[in-house]
Symmetry: C2
Subunit: 336 residues, 2 copies
């Protein structure tokens, strides 16, 4: 069970162990003949290089910390999948941790990642306050934030243009004939949600619509919170022909409430989401929504992080991606 090391190889090959190291690293200062011979022996002896030892001397673990609020969330899990792919393609692996949207946890995880000598960190922060809370660590380790962003943070992040996303959502509904569009849902203290609300407001202004809100702040985004609020909303007289939900998850809660009240979507009102999580594409759900391009976000996050690590240049990048509208069947032309 004891692993074979470079020394074992050296011994059976009858060379010094630095020669073995050279053979393995593909160094030019070694004869092709000995290289072949050594490589052959490595194979025979089932040698696997010890990445940990290498990391010690190279001062690089080729490990990236990935801190998510929770992989079980479908948005996060998709992100995680693509981050792994992209990172692996560039020779890095992922240490995954869940913060449970807890700022204290996030700090502990940074400490932990620092100790593990990861080369960089990708984090989906609990909220904008994470930027402040994590500040002391950000000078110690290259970090990129994904998803939640700050308006003017001096840190790298990649996010979607939430303002613009909301704007095109309203436009879409408008073009379908809707004039009474209610904006639904908001997570407390989230810049993302703030920006979406602003985009909605701006579009309403530009299109001469009256903005309507049903967005008491939720402590978190969940189907349940959306459901509870929607239940209340739908028990009253309807003043809208379409609802624009701040997130797909909220939209799902609305669907559930509508279902229970015998209200049909899109016949009785149209429903538009934001995020395009996996759930939204399921049969019977088929939620029309503004998409966050998760694969692209993952790829951009990894690239910008690795570029920073490898080029050793300080500074930061903001990458704002454009959301697109995914048409499914929860929106219909306004009935006349």
């Amino acid at each position: 069970m004891k692993a074979v090391t470079i020394k074992d190889i050296a011994k059976t090959a009858g060379v010094s162990y630095s020669t073995v190291s050279r053979a393995l690293s593909g160094s030019p200062e070694i004869s092709a003949e000995t290289r072949e011979r050594i490589l052959e022996i490595c194979k025979q002896m089932n040698y696997t290089p010890n990445t940990v030892a290498r990391a010690m001397v190279m001062k690089s673990t080729k490990l990236l910390g990935l801190i998510l609020t929770g992989v079980n969330n479908p948005f996060m899990s998709e992100l995680a999948y693509h981050i792994d792919r992209q990172a692996r393609a560039r020779g890095y692996n992922i240490v995954l941790c869940n913060s449970s949207r807890n700022t204290e946890q996030e700090r502990e995880l940074f400490e932990l990642m620092l100790g593990r000598q990861v080369d960089g960190i990708i984090i989906c922060p609990s909220g904008p306050e994470s930027y402040e809370s994590l500040r002391p660590y950000l000078s110690r380790i290259p970090t990129v934030f994904v998803g939640e962003n700050l308006r003017e943070a001096p840190e790298s992040y990649v996010s979607v243009d939430n303002y613009r996303g909301a704007y095109i959502g309203v436009e879409y509904l408008y073009n379908l004939g809707h004039r009474d569009i209610l904006y639904f849902g908001r997570r407390r203290g989230s810049t993302t949600h703030q920006l979406r609300a602003e985009g909605y407001a701006a579009a309403c202004r530009d299109l001469q619509l009256t903005a309507q809100y049903c967005n008491n702040a939720f402590p978190a985004t969940s189907i349940k919170y959306g459901y509870q609020l929607a239940k209340q909303l739908l028990s009253q007289q309807r003043t809208f022909t379409a609802i624009f939900a701040a997130t797909d998850t909220n939209a799902l809660g609305i669907m559930q409430a509508a279902e229970e009240s015998g209200i049909r979507i899109p016949e009785d009102f149209s429903l538009l989401g934001f995020d395009n999580i996996r759930d939204s594409s399921l049969p019977r759900i088929q939620l029309t929504t503004v998409e966050q391009p998760k694969k692209m976000m993952a790829s951009v996050a990894v690239d910008s992080l690795l570029d920073r690590i490898q080029s050793e240049v300080a500074g930061y990048t903001h990458r704002i991606l454009m959301p697109t509208l995914i048409e499914r069947s929860s929106c219909a032309p306004r009935p006349f």
Copy 2:
């Protein structure tokens, strides 16, 4: 940006660096006074112990490899979430990789994990053939398989009792009055699916029902494959009042096909799934299903792996958990 080490601490504290090490590890052979003093200095200097260096000498990285076919799959992502929680609670972290259900990848990932000196591996294998393909590595590193199992594998695994799960599923449908139950879907070469089919067959035998199958082997489990097969099935004369789908994902495909054909569930036929993935609990879907207890599986997998690592005893464990039936609204009493 250069990290402070134990030596820096020693220097400013005016002690040898082994003393610092002792202070940090909470060794008893050090005076309380110097310990306090050193700890204070560590805090002031922002010292973070280098886990990599520690791993080298301790010969333990406190890292667990987690190899999934893909975290983006909702079953996997839930498993991953709970595995992280449980592992962290026991002082371990997770290196996550996706195999994309590719046996060659799996082998490469084992090689990689071995190089990274992880203390153990948890893998959701591509299929039963992984046991064979991975055999050479299994003697080199403690491994536990989750999900897919082999009937008599001399390796540790945790899985649900698939046979029993299918059996109770049929019983449930039977008690609802159904006598014509069709079994739907199968993944090629999967022991899990094989066992479910056997459980179904046994229940039919015991309850004197005629088994009916619609289970051409799928290359993988996906909504699309389920949909395509269901489309075909539903275009014919119905010979059943209930369908038992091999997986929730297949059931989702059936739902979609039914939806398109104007066939109602559960009014026209009942639909029972297996797995209880997150999707199944969504509004409008509300799939009745046999649950795999994912949190428990995660917890058992981590515990059995760590127990093996820590106790250093060789051997293996099979842990088979009992599935339970989750009642939602895709099944109804047989119409008379």
